[in-house]
Amino acid sequence: MKLHEKILTHYLSCTSPVDKEGYLYKKKERNATYQRRWFVLKANLLFYQERPADRHLLGVIVLERCAVRRAESDAQFAFSLVFGPGLKTYRFAAVDRQTQESWVKALLSASHCYLSLLVRDLGRQYEEAKQQQGSGESCSSVTALKPSTYSFLFTAQGPTTAAVVREGRSHSASTVLQAPSIPTKVVAKKSPKLWPRRNAYVTPLNGPAPLYGEWPLVGFDPLEDFRKLHDYYGQEVKKAREEWLRSRQAEEERSDEDLIDLG
């Protein structure tokens, strides 16, 4: 497959700023030695060359569908980019902990998929924030879903309804963002309306690549428990919301009925 290199090098040298650069040691695949290279991270592309002043680029790594892992088995301050079964693992080593952490962090948030999810989430937060700033009446009917219900579900200490709604969504978004390498898994859990409508001309070449299960992510995932908690409660909330909307119509006929039946 031809990668039009000039387009990449042109993008690298254009005015938009670089996201991170510095020396790292890169492990050669063949003889397992480490070579010092100058790396430049821009968007979802990791370029490398011998020295910063060099005009000749040695290579580029496209950072999509890879996991970032700390790996200290063969070198200190080492980390790797794992693309999965049958695909490459790139191994790197930094000179100190700070450099290692800094690169790991930058690489974790580098993919297009990650940015896409983040933009989507922030877009929603923005709409919510605008609504609350604007007319209070319109938002209250949707977001004011019985504060008592939310208190019950989240066992939070007196949060406002709006904050809880945002918190709930943030949790789901952050769990999504904690697992940037498994976007297909996330799609299954999200409400359909949050994703773009399908194009009529979709002709996927192949089915999705087989999911190779969960890769251990960098460090620990502090939101692991929240993820499970939120998924469980998220379904209850969704159910409660639907029933509330249905019963709102029924309310006109039978005003005495309970607004929410949590079953």
């Binding site: 700023p17 968007a43 040695l58 496209v62 999509e64 450099t99 948030s109 609350q132 070449l205 690549a209």
Partner: protein, 158 residues
Amino acid sequence: MRFNEKELVSLSRQPSEMAAELGMRGPKKGDVVKKRLVKLVVNFLFYFRTDEEEPIGALLLEQCRVEREDSQTFSIAFLDEAERKYLFECDSEEQCGEWVDSIIKASYEFMRKNLIFYRTEIHRLTGKDPLEQYGISDETRFQVSNGLQLMSRDTSSL
């Protein structure tokens, strides 16, 4: 320049909302229109010969200019070479419009600008930085004044 070809080919096989057979013409004089399966995945435009599994090529959709040439044709110009364009012929006006829109929105730089806009606005409206909860407020790539801010240089080489 080396690149992770196998991984990029694997990426090209991911399901995409924008994948269709279009008439594609290269930018050089003498290039003719050929039927290609064109597929948009993240910020890459892959193009395949029909029924082939591996793409012929991959075009990075950054620093490029997408334009409508006529009702059913759009073009992409790279390298600031306004006259050297790739041309794509669609089946309908609607399809053409969808492609132009999708390609523009697929650019990483476009998404980054949106992110910075939302971040700034949310902070203005709520007083909170929405990136704090994800622990990424300090990442250079999400900075509001990215072009003006001094990036902390890696000093490990010194």
